[in-house]
Symmetry: C2
Subunit: 191 residues, 2 copies
Amino acid sequence: MDAHIKPVELEKAYRLLNHGPTVLVSASHGGVRNVMSAAWSCALDFAPPKVTVVLDKATATRPLVEQSGFFALQVPNMAQLELTYNVGHASMTDMPDKLQKFGVELFQADGYDVPLVAGSSAWLICKVIPEPRNEQVYDLFIGEVVAAYADTRVFNNGHWEFEKADPRWRSLHYIAGGTFYAIGDEAVVKT
Amino acid sequence: MDAHIKPVELEKAYRLLNHGPTVLVSASHGGVRNVMSAAWSCALDFAPPKVTVVLDKATATRPLVEQSGFFALQVPNMAQLELTYNVGHASMTDMPDKLQKFGVELFQADGYDVPLVAGSSAWLICKVIPEPRNEQVYDLFIGEVVAAYADTRVFNNGHWEFEKADPRWRSLHYIAGGTFYAIGDEAVVKT
């Protein structure tokens, strides 16, 4: 694992998603690994940390999540803008070499089989909490975050440092039709 | 209703939330109206549009949502930075005049009882889709968007126009401890 990547305390893992970034969802099963992007992912609880993510029945990633019981969410950044768009708009079903074609490099964290996307800003490894009704009716999956990591060049000591980091580390917030917004300036309320 | 506020087509309502803003959640029942902020709200479906929002059992807004069956999500902006922080950190239970104290001005859209927060960038009026298990176990509420509106000074013809609008219209993305980020620059992938 890259020396810049450090574990994030589980009780602070919600902060990785709290600002609503578009995420990359990765999973593997039976030797097949895949990555898709998802704008519809959200924190659900602080401790133990939980998340939601919407996985359409047409995606090739969803069966890997269902069969393995694990997925990872990663927070991509401006340096991954095209990668994030591309893995969300081409399916492995139609393009079996999708990951290779789009330059997705994978790595693993000790103790977990789920593939992680290199070059991201943060990673949350999640164990599916089975909720069959949500999954079938709403395509909504709930996961408990069992491990979290961040690149210390942009998230350090429990805090995003977008304002100090190079702009390539800014998180991505997708709208539609290829249009994203990068996260912007910090605004602090005196408490 | 302010002349700048126009309806948003329901099939494009997801775009109001797709970039993951912190939202204001409003509801009313039996003459009581309340507003809270929530970072954990997310689009769930395109058509009919649906959303999720996490409403803790300790909030004073939750029983209003449960009793009326409706809530509104609004997308606040930099001009509402302190308001957004304040309504999320003081409960009507402890501060009955919370809305007055924090300068929250409410209005209504024709045909709906749910109160809307003036000065926001966008509004989604939602009808609760009852899912008792989600509500009890996860504090997770699902709503179908039945009407949506936006201020045309920042969302026009189905598109956010943050790059053209005054910076006070930028959406807010909460992290923790009074720290928000404003949404930043547009980044477009050629499709």
